[in-house]
């Protein structure tokens, strides 16, 4: 199981975050700023952590992220639990 978080690179304006922050403020929350990112929890069939990591990196490169605008963080989840 790997967890890939894809988020806009620093410095890029995040329209969704902007709208969300405004709405939260309207609702009375003391919010300064919001950034929105996406998380893919991927159930992969691989042997070890290292392989999972390199596969996830490849997934980001090919589909999940665009290095021109996104940063991504990969985390290999071990132990029980799964993509439900």
């Amino acid at each position: 199981m790997v967890r890939v978080e894809v988020k806009l690179k620093k410095g890029h304006f995040d329209p969704e975050g902007d709208v969300t922050a405004r709405s939260l403020k309207d609702l009375g929350f003391p919010v300064n700023n919001v950034r929105v990112s996406k998380v893919y929890t991927v159930d992969v069939s691989v042997g070890d952590e290292k392989e999972a990591m390199s596969l996830a990196r490849e997934m980001c490169r090919k589909l999940l992220a665009n290095p021109t605008k996104d940063d991504f963080i990969i985390e290999v989840l071990t132990g029980e639990g799964g993509a439900d």
Binding site: V19, T20, D26
Partner: protein, 261 residues
């Protein structure tokens, strides 16, 4: 009430984009219609209107969830105003994004403007935006919005949305809806049978093929399909010799209700 004195308010915020065609439809039936930005509604209230419409579009970019941000804005800005409006038995209609707004605002299914919604319009089962004509079956005629329609009647109306999969909070909520006759429209096969989840007749995977629901009193209704895009005969995909399409029937009901109001 004299139709000449009646007035409709089409609400809008940034990202609303189906307001003009709605105005065209309502005005074609002789109902005076104004498009009001939420800001103006906050300022002047809703007292002079008998029909409030939340139209389609992408309010606030559909960020967070479709309809969520506007839905919550309804809470923070016009809740009591709207409550009064509903209690006076005036009509509230939500189409597409407007339906999403009403669900997120908790106006439907209960008609109470609940803090926490009891249903969701989740993303389509296909995970895609779906623009297509569907067959909508009338489940209950004779309500303000289905006046003049008969149970089982099939309407041709298009949908255009990415998040229209109706999900009730629980089995029980669904049972109640059905029992109370609050399911007004369901997606159907061309034959008239319920679509029973079959894609693309049920374009989004809605539970129980739900396309539109109303509150118990029947004065609040939300639907995913766009009757304003099926108002005139020429809008129909097969073309039509008649001046009007099926969408008009829904607006016709509204007019009748307002005349009797």
């Amino acid at each position: 009430m004299d139709l000449e004195r009646a007035k409709a308010c089409i609400a809008r915020v940034g990202g609303t984009n189906c307001d003009l065609e709605l105005k065209v439809a309502l005005e074609d039936l002789g109902l005076r219609t104004e498009i009001l930005h939420m800001k103006e509604i906050v300022k002047k209230g809703l007292a002079e209107y008998q029909l409030l419409v939340f139209p389609g579009g992408f309010s606030y970019g559909d960020y967070v969830r479709a309809g969520a941000i506007w839905g919550k804005e309804v809470h923070s800005k016009i809740k009591s105003e709207l409550q009064t409006f509903i209690e006076e038995n005036k009509l509230v209609l939500g189409i597409c994004n407007g339906f999403q707004v009403m669900i997120e605002a908790g106006i439907l299914p209960d008609g109470e403007i609940a803090e926490v919604p009891k249903a969701a319009l989740a993303n389509n089962a296909s995970s895609k935006y779906e623009c297509r004509w569907v067959y909508v079956r009338v489940e209950r005629g004779g309500t303000p919005f289905t006046e003049g329609l008969t149970n089982g009647e099939i309407l041709r109306i298009p949908v255009g949305h990415g998040e229209g999969r109706f999900l009730p909070e629980s089995e029980e909520v669904l049972r109640e809806l059905i029992k109370d006759g609050c399911v007004l429209f369901r997606y159907a096969l061309p034959s008239g049978d319920a679509a029973d989840g079959e894609y693309p007749y049920n374009p989004n995977g809605s539970v129980y093929d739900i396309a539109g629901i109303c509150n118990k009193r029947g004065n609040i209704m939300g639907m995913m399909p766009h009757p304003e895009r099926a108002f005139f005969g020429w809008q129909l995909p097969e073309g039509s010799d008649s001046l009007y399409g099926d969408g008009k029937k829904i607006f016709q009901g509204i007019i009748k209700y307002l005349e009797d109001y």
